[in-house]
Symmetry: C2
Subunit: 311 residues, 2 copies
């Protein structure tokens, strides 16, 4: 039985109607492929492309801007046979997740970043363009003013006061197809006002995305501690022994212990999905044979976290 779960980021935010519509469109795009016998990889890609094209999310069009006002996206994909591909700091590919798939399928590499990633995507015929939206440009200007008031931008030693913006609107998906294959993917514009060239967990296999024979997960939130604590890898490692629900619960403990905010969704080889977060809110939607469920995190207060299972 196929199964898919998609997320729209974790952080301190209140997902509105547009956010919900975007999640539903994404989960439907993936589900349509799965019920037609499509692969988990195709489904995860389609769900993420749908959210990258929707400027309400921080991925693809409408991505956060870095400190110089440019878009630099991270995206990654991984399958249950351990094959994977990722791009980091890609600036012009309309759909960074498709560039990650190119790395997976057309190169012997796992991660390609910066101008090399854009050049690969263009050479392979992926559509490119300007991903900066008016809304993001305004947010950028407002944030720059805040930073100018407090800090010396010339040396940019530390970016303070931005933690509430972290991970908001990053997108991801995890799916099981009818043939029993698993896939997971993540795509993000990353941290607002990040330094140029900063790569977050969304491009790092083991951090934002991981998959193996027993499970596939996508994590989102404060990228740096997610990398440090190898969050997605730890979750997938635990699935075989304790199942996806307990695996998610175990990595939430890492977040609570080390005091960082993140959310995670995942799917198990039996089709069970699970989710959880240590941030104020998270949004996700899932679909399986029993129908669609959405969660917008509105009623969750700071510090709460949830993890449940379907199957």
């Amino acid at each position: 039985m196929p199964s898919i779960i998609v997320h729209g980021g974790a952080g301190a935010y209140d997902p509105g109607d547009e956010h919900e519509r975007g999640l539903l469109a994404a989960v439907d795009a993936g589900w349509a492929l799965l019920v037609g016998g499509g692969s988990a990889l195709d489904a995860v890609e389609a769900s993420i492309v749908s959210m990258e094209d929707d400027p309400v999310f921080n991925a693809g069009l409408g991505s956060s801007l870095n400190i110089d006002g440019a878009v630099e996206c991270d995206a990654s994909l991984m399958l249950s046979d351990y094959s994977c591909g990722a791009v980091g700091g890609i600036r012009r590919a309309k759909n960074p997740i498709r560039a990650a798939r190119l790395v997976l399928e057309r190169t012997d590499h796992v991660l390609i970043v910066g101008p090399g990633a854009d050049s690969l995507a263009e050479r392979m015929g992926l559509p490119s363009g300007d991903l900066v939206t008016e809304r993001r440009a305004e947010l950028h200007e407002r944030n720059l003013e805040r930073l100018r008031a407090g800090e010396d931008l010339k040396f940019m030693p530390r970016i303070a006061g931005l933690s509430e913006e972290m991970g908001i609107g990053t997108v991801g998906a995890a799916a099981l197809d009818a043939a029993g294959r698993l896939a997971a993917g993540t795509s993000t514009g990353g941290l607002m006002s990040k330094l140029p060239g900063r790569i977050g967990d969304g491009a790092v296999i083991g951090a934002g995305t991981y998959a193996g024979p027993h499970g596939a997960v996508s994590a989102t939130g404060h990228g740096e501690p997610i990398i440090k604590h190898v969050v997605a890898g730890a979750a997938v490692d635990a699935v075989r022994d304790v199942g996806i629900r307990e695996a998610v619960a175990s990595v939430l403990e890492i977040g609570r212990h080390h005091e960082f905010g993140f959310g995670i969704v995942g799917v198990e080889e039996n089709g069970a999905t699970a989710w959880g977060f240590t941030t104020q809110a998270m949004s996700w939607a899932r679909r399986d044979d029993s129908g669609t469920t959405t969660f917008l995190g509105k009623e969750i207060s700071i510090g709460d976290a949830g993890s449940e299972q379907t199957g």
Copy 2:
């Protein structure tokens, strides 16, 4: 009791006298700091800088060239308190490991790549220059001819026949200082003839470098599977329960099972060091209170692997 182990890469090669001299100089540079009360971080950095400055190794000066003939270095550092920093695809910093330390100490990020990494390093005053050596330029030309004979470079779908070059001359170090702090680091020019922007395990926390309260390791070899199987993270995860020697042995099993070549060195909180490899050869040197040991992998035949402990 302080302790340090450094390596000069794993692969199919025969380390010569220059290689041995370089390893000894590196381990001495780190040891001199440790016996003077210096930090594990300073010792690991000093050992790696020594090898980056030595063109016999594939790191810093004398790094492998990418398919376009340019140097793109990866480097990473991590401490037992989980703090870490890394750079990927950096082209002009004379000592990429020092750029990784800047990311660790002067930014809120973990990984900065490409032109952003070079710009950060220059802004912070790190020496820069041309890292291409005559020897590497010749190897590059010879390899291009081989590739031109066999493949369409325009699309560069797969780089075949280069596996014997992988990881050769990557450098790394792991150390325990007198205050009980652990650190590990890795630095590399990466895979010869790689696509521009390709980031290997040397820049990825959890893959080439990892550390935690109980151990610190540096891995080297075929970067892509090292990333896929989160090799350094898995080794450090295992140290608390089984010690560094068994932890190294357990990740060698991952390499044998999934059939990829790599080597690893590590140190445990009690100062014990361990090493092992699934490649044809590996080189390392270690030093503690009982003196210096070097290993040049000359007598190891293909398929053999070793792992031993001191302390």
